[in-house]
């Protein structure tokens, strides 16, 4: 049931049930990427009900750290002595939420924190401030979700929008050259064919595709993140040049805008799994065959040909680390592997 809730109505299986210590998945088609899918963040294992059906008092977890408390916005985790991977080096991790990036950096400089967030557009700034940074490979795809209904039901208009966007300005200026320009779903490093999707802006072609039509006013919605709003405003400016009238709005609970900025995870152990996870996160239910680059390319090409999703940038994750942190590695999704990190004694 929890698995079904995780994938909502876009599950690759038709039924799932437990038989003893086994979990049986039943589907109409093969599920070659099932294990990668189940390993993604959407399917993290948590104990939500005890054996007698009660809500557990503490979310203990089975990882290297166990939940201890959550007080005043601070989450405290302690080392799991009996972790199957072995006990982590760090005894306790305190995570402070809703802390502005600049404040995190101040905490880091003052020794009040050991790890701080560094958004991609701030990496350059952090390095200029001589913070030690750890940057992941691209782990997130920034894309423009284009509605295929309403005023943009015409695929030609959607194509015009894709042609009008200046990815270079987004990458070079807004993300301070820390975003990789892309027109494909998966990064070049993962597939090797991403260069086949052209990334250059062609305003003339955009105007040509629009064909003198004056489309009705469009809306592009973003979350409250200032950088995403800036990206949306820039895209709106680009589209103005192509004859589109676009207003930037904040995302609502139910999407109503014709355009939306999406940040899609690049997860999965291999390209096929990553593509399937990515496609499923967009609502597509397309099983991708394993180890067939041509099939991957076709699947990606066919999907992008719909022009309902316009890839913009592949973005990394970055962290600033304190001077006493040792052996901090980033995992595949760009998050720090705290279980392997250790702290040098201040003495």
């Amino acid at each position: 049931m929890a698995l079904n809730m995780a994938c909502n109505a876009n599950c690759p299986w038709t039924a799932v049930h437990a038989v003893g210590s086994f979990v049986v998945f039943t589907g109409d088609s093969p599920m070659p990427n099932l294990s990668a899918l189940l390993a993604s963040d959407a399917y993290l294992i948590a104990l939500t009900r005890t054996a007698d059906g009660q809500t557990p008092q503490n979310f203990i977890g089975t990882g290297p750290f166990q939940f201890t408390s959550f007080v005043n916005g601070q989450l405290t985790l302690t080392a799991n002595e009996s972790c199957w991977q072995g006990r982590p080096f760090v005894d306790e991790v305190v995570i402070t939420g809703n802390r502005p990036v600049r404040d995190q950096w101040l905490d880091l400089s003052a020794g009040r924190a050991d790890i701080a967030e560094v958004p991609p557009q701030e990496i350059r700034q952090a390095q200029q401030q001589h913070l030690t940074t750890v940057v992941s490979p691209p782990v997130e795809l920034l894309a423009l979700d284009v509605s295929d209904s309403g005023p943009l039901a015409n695929a030609v208009l959607r194509e015009a929008i894709a042609q009008a966007i200046d990815r270079g300005a987004l990458s070079n200026v807004i993300f301070q050259k820390r975003g990789e320009i892309t027109a494909s779903l998966l990064p070049q490093s993962l597939t090797g064919y991403a260069f086949l999707f052209p990334t250059d802006r062609d305003l003339n072609k955009a105007n040509e595709l629009r064909g003198g039509l004056t489309p009705p006013p469009l809306r592009i919605e973003t979350n409250g993140d200032p950088i995403m709003q800036l990206v949306a405003q820039r895209i709106a400016l680009n589209l103005h040049e192509a004859g589109f009238n676009v207003q930037v709005t904040l995302a609502s609970y139910t999407r109503s805008a014709e355009l939306a900025l999406r940040e899609l995870p690049l997860e999965g152990g291999d390209s096929a799994a990553a593509l399937e996870i990515l496609l499923r996160s967009t609502g597509e239910n397309v099983p991708v065959a394993r180890r067939d680059p041509m099939a991957l390319y076709r699947a990606e090409h066919d999907f992008l040909d719909l022009k309902t999703l316009v890839p913009l940038l592949d973005l990394p994750r970055a962290w600033a680390i304190g001077s006493r942190v040792r052996d901090l590695r980033l995992r595949a999704d760009g998050t720090p592997d705290l279980a392997e990190a250790s702290l040098e004694s201040t003495q």
Binding site: R124, A169, N172, V173, I174, Q176, K177, P217, L230, V231, Q233, R234, A236, L237, H240, E241, G243, N245, Q247, V248
Partner: protein
């Protein structure tokens, strides 16, 4: 309308017209003075606004200048020149604008493209044409904003010292700007910026000229506390200012009440190219002025009304004073006309009216004197006429009496027989003449003893018929006279004494018969005429001349050789006693007609 009323009306109208003219002049002058004061107040505010605008301009220019000369800006400009990488300064404008407390700030590179924009960060890389055309002096500019709207701002441009990098910064002309203006109580200030709404599709293109833009939208008139209330009433002024580019003033009336009206001025705000970017509306409530005007008007009306009332009262007094002697003169004249010749007017003063009064009094005194003399003379004349008539009447019988007595005295010497004969004849003559004397004396006695009429309801036809029957036989003996009767068939009731009326009519008939010694026709007629009954006695005798007609009814006047002159006087007396009139119509040789008109008896 009496003289007093005419005078009163004349005086009142004259004074009222004079007061109204004075009041109107005063009110017009007051209105003019108030309007002048209003205009001066508006002009004062306009000059204050211009000073405030100038002050704001200098503040903006100084702030941008300070930024341009700052070390931070120079380092940035140097780095831009060295590296050519503008991406590092994406948020620089926001930070600098915050430090300089500017609403707008853009950093523009040497090639004219935006490096960083505080108001629209995503606008980097786009050209900013305002930089190229901007002069050293601050200017107005309509700035496109990311939300699709535009904002009017006061901008200044300064190059970063020693570089081609320029800063264009500005302050928003909005509510806070309006709130800082020196607004007096009762004054409204609004800013109309008509280039709002969706921004230009090309962000490099500035807002178009307002005169080429859409129709007036009241929701775009910004007041100190949000939208300016009643903004739609300023449409004509704002449109005129947008179209002409000149300051326009006028009176705005949101309601029909004058005290709600406003004295409004629309001041166009222009950019460096003299295009109208916005219109500042200054409206000053006229309620104070209107109320003061109304108070003054009420006072003026009160004073005018009081003045008119006083004038009317004074006019009454004057009219009475002027007209009273004239009215007294008129009343006295009426009394004189009515027969009271003793009426007098008291003379007052020495003016023309008093002269007239004295003259009137003198005239009436003269009239009375003349009347007395006339009465006296007429009385003497009447006595003389009576004496003459008496003498004449008595002389005729006395002469035979004297002859008879003398004859009788001479006859005493005659033989007895002859004496007896003479004596018989003489005594017979004496008796006859004495009888004549008695008759004459009886007539005079009858005239002096006219009885009062005993009125009763009779029919005029009966009166005529009685006279006809009495004299028809007498006339029949004299075949030369014929009596004709012409009487209306309908009853003709009279309230009269039948005997006196018969006697009067008989006198007229006898006179008529006497006037026709050679015979003729005597016509008796009676007919109704309106509310009267007319009795006519007409003969065909010699007729009367005008003098005779005029004196015919005078007592003792007669045209007959042996008449007493009392017959027609008696007829006139009877007719007068019956409230009637008698006239005569005659011409020489055409006979005479006596016409008696008596009032018809009311049924």
């Amino acid at each position: 309308m009496s003289l007093r009323q005419k005078l009163l009306l004349l005086f009142s109208l004259t004074v009222a017209a004079a007061v109204a003219a004075v009041a109107w002049t005063v009110l017009v002058r007051i209105r003019h003075v108030f309007e002048m004061r209003d205009q001066e107040e508006t002009a004062l505010f306009v000059s204050q606004f211009q000073r405030e605008f100038q002050h704001r301009s200098q503040e903006v220019a100084a702030a941008v200048n300070r930024l341009a000369k700052s070390e931070r800006a120079r380092a940035m400009a140097f780095d831009l020149a060295q590296s050519g990488d503008a991406s590092a300064y994406l948020t620089e404008a926001q930070s600098m604008a915050q430090d300089a407390q500017l609403d707008f700030l853009e950093i523009v590179s040497a090639d004219g493209n935006v490096v960083s924009s505080a108001q629209w960060p995503a606008r980097f890389g786009y050209a900013e044409p305002a930089v190229a055309s901007a002069s050293a002096t601050p200017f107005l500019k309509r700035e496109d904003l990311p939300d699709g709207l535009t904002a009017l701002g006061l901008f200044a441009v300064h190059a970063v010292s020693g570089t081609q990098v320029r800063l264009i910064g500005g302050e928003r002309l909005d509510q806070s700007f309006l709130a800082d203006l020196p607004v007096a109580p009762g004054m409204q200030v609004g800013l109309y910026g008509d280039a709002g709404g969706v921004a230009s599709s090309d962000p490099a293109v500035s807002a178009p000229h307002p005169s080429t833009q859409a129709a007036f939208d009241p929701s775009r008139v910004l007041g100190v506390n949000g939208n300016l209330p009643g903004a739609q009433y300023y449409q004509s002024l704002i449109d005129a200012a947008r179209t002409t580019g000149q300051q326009v003033s006028g009176i705005v009336s949101p309601t029909n009440r004058r005290e709600d009206s406003l004295n409004a001025t629309a001041i166009p705000l222009k950019n460096g190219q003299s295009n109208v970017m916005a219109v500042l509306v200054v409206a000053i409530a006229r309620s104070g002025m209107v109320e003061a005007q109304q108070r003054i008007r009420a006072i003026a009306y009160g004073v005018a009304a009081g003045g008119i009332l006083l004038a009317v009262a004074f006019s009454l007094w004057i009219a009475a004073r002027v007209s009273r002697p004239i009215e007294q003169l008129a009343r006295a004249a009426e009394e004189v006309a009515g027969g009271n010749w003793d009426a007098r007017v008291p003379p007052r003063g020495r003016d023309e009216v008093s002269v007239l009064a004295r003259s009137f009094n003198h005239m009436t005194e003269q009239l009375v004197s003349q009347r007395d003399r006339l009465v006296q003379s007429e009385r003497v004349a009447a006595w003389r006429e009576l004496a003459r008539r008496l003498a004449h009447e008595l002389k005729n019988p006395l002469f035979p009496l004297q002859l008879t007595v003398e004859n009788l005295m001479r006859a005493r010497d005659l033989p007895q027989a002859e004496f007896d004969e003479v004596f018989r004849e003489s005594t017979a003559t004496l008796a006859t003449e004495i009888a004549n004397l008695k008759t004459i004396i009886g007539r005079f006695s009858d005239f002096s003893k006219m009885p009062k009429p005993e009125l009763e309801r009779i029919d005029a036809r009966d009166v005529v018929e009685r006279v006809r029957s009495l004299y028809e036989n007498a006339a029949s003996h004299d075949a030369k006279i014929r009596i004709a009767v012409d009487v209306a068939g309908a009853p003709m009731p009279l309230l009269a004494d039948p005997e006196l009326l018969h006697r009067a009519l008989s006198n007229l008939v006898l006179n008529g018969m006497d006037a026709m010694p050679d015979g003729g026709v005597l016509t008796l007629s009676a007919y109704p005429k309106g509310e009267t009954v007319v009795l006519r006695v007409a003969d065909t005798g010699q007729g009367l001349n005008p003098e005779e007609c005029e004196r015919l009814f005078t007592p003792y006047y007669t045209t007959k050789q042996h008449g007493t002159g009392l017959g027609l006087a008696i007829v006139q007396s009877v007719v007068a006693d019956h409230a009637g009139t008698i006239t005569v119509e005659s011409s020489m040789g055409g006979g005479a007609t006596f016409i008696i008109t008596l009032p018809r008896a009311v049924s």
